[in-house]
Amino acid sequence: MCAPFLRLGRQPKRAASESQQVRVLVPSCLLILATAAFAEAADRDKPIQVEANAGNFNDLKQIGVFTGDVRVTKGTLRVTGARLDLRRDPEGYEHAVVIASPGQLATFRQRRDPSKPGIEEIVEGSAERIEYDGKAESVKLVSRAALRRLENAEQRDELRGSVITYDSRTTVYNVEGDKSGAAGSDGRVRAIIAPRNNSGSEATPAKDEGASLKPAPSVEVPKK
């Protein structure tokens, strides 16, 4: 269940520091409408390249399983992990699941289509399990999920939670907290959202926050 409000807690020390960043703590669920943050559109038409120590390919079912230091590349999208399950559905869309070895994290990195001249935007993330759905054009990070947005190698936004989904068509991130009550988890999601104007002026972070972080018109209930 999502709480129908966003509780914005400003960290005074942090705000006073070099980055005008706001820490947002939202119970259970967070929706962010990212502005002009399309994933590299050309990536979709790029081949999938896989490097691994071993591979198993089922010619009949069109399923590939790769294990051992797996590196997947599709255009600017790069995913690493211990095991990759790759399949192509009858319509020709690719579906990939990358799993990290126990105790490790699978990683994900993708360059965005440039929205501002001279700024290279990178989205990188990590989780125990990373799912790519070529039909929905979405990426889902499951368990110990973290997603960061970098501009010219400088971190701007950060999301942490149990499940992070990113829909590259609607550019909507969805973050869910851990509802299982597992040890070491307080069931909350954490987000650091950088202000969207680059003036670095006296503008208060709260105002900037209001410009970029919009409470969703309809609340998306995470699937259970």
């Binding site: 559109a41 979709r44 038409d45 790029k46 081949p47 999938i48 390249q49 896989v50 490097e51 691994a52 120590n53 071993a54 591979g55 198993n56 390919f57 089922n58 010619d59 009949l60 590939g64 790769f66 790759l86 192509r88 319509e91 020709g92 869309y93 690719e94 070529g134």
Partner: protein, 196 residues
């Protein structure tokens, strides 16, 4: 005295005759040494040969073509020049394996394909053909399994997989790749059509 010598002579003569005939029978019974061919010399060869093997129902299961078949008596092995092995299982797409040479062992149970090996699984319906290339391929025609411990490339449509070794089962249609696996999967038809 003379009465005693005559029977003694007779016994001696008979003993000689018996011993000689026994010796001859032993000599004749001993196996004659066969003139052995020098190692590596064939005992026969056949040119432009087609071997067809049938299953229990009398259907052709595979065919083996070769420009020249050479048989070696010393180990019952067969060498083939320009061989082509075609698997003809009725419920499976046809698999065609060609190479420069081949060595057939164990009455055709193991076929070592050597040099410029190309194995092609025929395309079916909307599935493109699948092709393996390597310098060596061990074919087990009875179980329709193929393997290599040499670098191998698989091509399927515009997708390719390279590895240091592989095993392929033509009945389950599963390939196992080992060592430095490098795969490139071309985007699907929908991705091409739906691209912005």
């Amino acid at each position: 005295m003379r009465e005693k010598i005559a029977p003694a002579l007779a016994i001696l003569l008979l003993a000689i005759v018996a011993t000689t005939s026994y010796w001859y029978s032993q000599v004749l019974r001993r196996p004659q040494p066969v003139p052995r061919a020098a190692p590596g010399t064939p005992d026969f060869f056949v040119e432009r040969v087609v071997i067809t093997q049938f299953d229990a129902l009398g259907r052709a299961r595979h065919k083996l073509f070769a420009d020249k078949l050479t048989h070696y008596l010393e180990n019952d092995n067969i060498e083939l020049a320009s061989p082509r092995l075609v698997s003809l299982r009725p419920d499976q797409p046809q698999l065609d394996v060609r190479s420069r040479n081949a060595l057939v062992e164990e009455a055709g149970e193991r076929v070592h394909m050597l040099g410029s090996v190309v194995a092609t699984r025929a395309g079916t319906g909307d599935e493109p053909p699948m092709r393996f290339t390597s310098e060596y391929l061990l074919a087990l025609p009875d179980s329709d399994r193929f393997s290599t411990d040499q670098p191998v490339t698989m091509e399927r449509g515009a997708s390719t997989v390279r590895a240091r070794a592989m095993q392929y089962d033509n009945i389950t249609r599963v390939v196992d790749f080992r060592g430095d696996v490098r795969a490139v999967f071309a985007p699907g038809p929908s991705a091409k059509a739906g691209g912005k």
